[in-house]
Symmetry: C2
Subunit: 311 residues, 2 copies
C-alpha cells in the first residue's frame, strides 16, 4: 500500500487485469494509454501457463482463482480478462464467481472486426484452445460475419524467444520493408517464414470455402508484438490487403469506455492519481516476467510480486 | 486392474515412468524395447506442463506429487524420471519422498557422453530450466568432461506442431540427404533452420571458449523426434562430425540394467507378462496425449486415464 491516495481513503478504484502469462500486458499497455490516471493490478498465472493447451475445466478453475485474487485481495472493482483462452473458455465461470463487471477480449475483438470488414469474411489466428472453443467464430456469427479460425502454436514461443525483430512501425513503405526483410537476421526470417506458412494455409482454406476475407483478428495477446512482421508478410501473401485487428487494443478501448461509465456512476468525481499506478503479481517465474514483461508493457513492470494460488 | 496377471497375485513389479508431458514416452519406448515383458505405468503431468519455464520450488512440488501417485496409487517399485527438467531440479526431492529406487535422465546422459567423447568436450541442448540448473555441466564435470549447455525453447513446440518431417533413418548418405532437405516441405525447412541457428551459435560459443566438441547430448525427451534432422544439420555445420547422444536411450539402458538387478534380488524368478503392459495417466488434455503420444511411443498409447493431483 505505497500509494498515498490509498491511505487517504479516496475512491479511485482499481482495475484488475488478468492473463495466464504476461502477454496480457499488451492489453494493460493499451489500457494505460487510455486511462493514464487509473490504478491497475495485473496478475499473470505464470505457474500454470500456458492455458492454451489445457482443458476447459482446468482453465476455468485456474481463471476463477486468479479473478478472485484480484477482486478479494487487491480490491479490483472492474476486471479485464486479458487472455483469449480464458475469455473463450471461462468468462461465464469468472462472471459467476466475482461480484464486479468482467470484460473479456473476444467480444471487443469481434466487434472491431465487424466495424472493419466490408466483405463480412474474417480470419482469426489464436492458440489451440481458443480456436477449439470457436468463441471468435460464434462472436463473429452473432454479428453477421463469417470467421475462419486457425491455431498458430509456434507464434507464442517465437515471441517469447524474442525472434520478432525490431518493432518497425507498421505500414512503412513496402520497398524499404522488403529490403529490410531481406537483410533481417535469420531468427526474424524464421518467424516471417512461420507466419507465411500459417497465413498461406489459412488464406488457401478461406478460398476453398468461397470466402473473401479482408480482416485478420489477432486472437492472442502475444501477437501484437508480431504485428509489424505480420503486416509485412500479409502484404506479400495478399496484395489486395487485409486489415489487422488487435483484440488487445479493441478490449482496452471497450474496457476504458465501460470503466469510465461505471466510475462516473459510482465515484463522482474520480480522484485521479498523477500517473497510472501498476502493481504486477505472478504465480511463478517472477524474474522471467520482469525481464520479458517490459517488452509487452512497453515500460518497466516494476517489482513483480510472487503469490501462491495453491495450484 | 484389467490384467489377469494382477488378479492372480503374481509378483511382476511395475515400473513407474514420469514426465511433465508425453515427451517421456521416448524413454518408455526405449524401456519397452529392453524390458518387453515388464509392466509400466506412465504419468504425464499435462495439466501443469511445461516444467521447463518454472521455478525449482514449483517443479519439485509437482514432481513429488506425480512420483507419489505412481508409487502409492499404481504400486510402482521402481521410478524413472523421464523428464530432464524434473531430473535436473527435483531428483533429490523425489528420492526423499518415495521409498523406491529413482533414476533420472541426467546421469545416464552424461555417462553416455563420457563413453562417446574422445576430446572430452561436450555440447548439451535442453530446455531453459534444465540449462539454468547446469545439472548436465555438473554431471559432465564429475566425469572429467567440459560441457557447454544451450537452451533451445523453440524445439519442443516445433516437435509438438509436427514440423519434424519424415523420420528418415539417421546417417543416410549425405548427398541423398541434402537433396531430401532441399525438397523438404517448408515446415521442415523452418525446423532445420531453427536447429541450424541454435547449433551455429552453440558451436561458435564453444570455439570462443577454446573447446573442441565431438559429442552433442539431447537433454530433452522431445528431441529424439528431431534426431534425423539434427544429424543432417550437424553434418552441414560441423563437417568433422559430432556424435549425438540421446539421454532417453541412455536412461532406458541404465534403468533396464538396474531394474533387472533389483528384480532378480527381490522376485526370483520374475513372472513375465507376454508383452509389455502399459497404462498411461495424464492430469489433463487426454485427447492431445493420445493423439501425439503414439508418435513418441511409436505405438498407440491406448486409452489414457485422467487423474487429478489437485494442482
Amino acid at each position: 500500500m505505497s500509494y498515498p491516495e490509498w491511505k487517504t481513503g479516496m475512491t479511485t478504484p482499481t482495475i484488475g487485469v488478468f492473463d495466464s502469462g504476461f502477454g496480457g500486458l499488451t492489453v494493460l499497455r493499451a489500457l494505460v494509454a487510455r486511462l493514464p490516471g487509473a490504478r491497475f493490478a495485473f496478475l499473470g498465472d505464470t505457474a500454470r501457463l500456458p492455458y492454451g493447451s489445457k482443458s476447459r475445466r482446468t482453465i476455468a478453475r485456474y481463471a476463477v482463482q486468479s479473478a478472485q485474487f484480484l477482486v478479494r485481495e487487491q480490491g479490483a472493482e472492474f476486471l479485464v480478462i486479458a487472455c483469449n483462452t480464458a475469455s473463450a473458455l471461462a468468462l461465464d465461470a469468472i462472471q459467476d464467481a466475482v461480484p464486479v463487471p468482467v470484460l473479456g477480449v473476444i467480444e471487443p475483438g469481434a466487434e472491431a472486426a465487424r466495424a472493419a470488414s466490408r466483405t463480412g469474411d474474417v480470419l482469426v489466428i489464436a492458440t489451440g484452445a481458443t480456436v477449439e472453443s470457436h468463441a471468435y467464430a460464434a462472436a463473429c456469427r452473432a454479428r453477421g460475419l463469417r470467421a475462419l479460425e486457425m491455431a498458430c502454436p509456434l507464434l507464442v514461443p517465437l515471441v517469447e524467444e524474442g525472434w520478432t525483430g525490431p518493432l518497425v512501425a507498421a505500414g512503412a513503405d513496402t520497398e524499404a520493408s522488403a529490403a529490410q526483410a531481406a537483410s533481417a537476421p535469420p531468427q526474424v526470417a524464421v518467424t516471417a517464414e512461420v507466419i507465411r506458412i500459417y497465413l498461406a494455409e489459412l488464406i488457401s482454406e478461406a478460398a476453398a470455402q468461397g470466402m473473401n476475407p479482408d480482416t485478420l483478428v489477432l486472437g492472442c495477446t502475444h501477437y501484437p508484438l508480431l504485428r509489424p512482421l505480420l503486416e509485412r508478410v500479409l502484404a506479400c501473401v495478399v496484395p489486395a490487403g487485409i486489415r489487422v485487428i488487435d483484440s488487445a487494443e479493441a478490449a482496452a478501448e471497450a474496457a476504458a469506455l465501460l470503466f469510465i461509465l461505471q466510475d462516473t456512476k459510482k465515484h463522482s468525481p474520480t480522484v485521479q492519481v498523477p500517473t497510472a499506478q501498476i502493481r504486477c503479481f505472478a504465480t511463478d517465474s517472477v524474474e522471467k516476467f520482469e525481464r520479458l514483461g517490459s517488452r509487452f508493457l512497453n515500460q518497466p513492470t516494476g517489482k513483480v510480486e510472487l503469490i501462491d494460488l495453491g495450484g
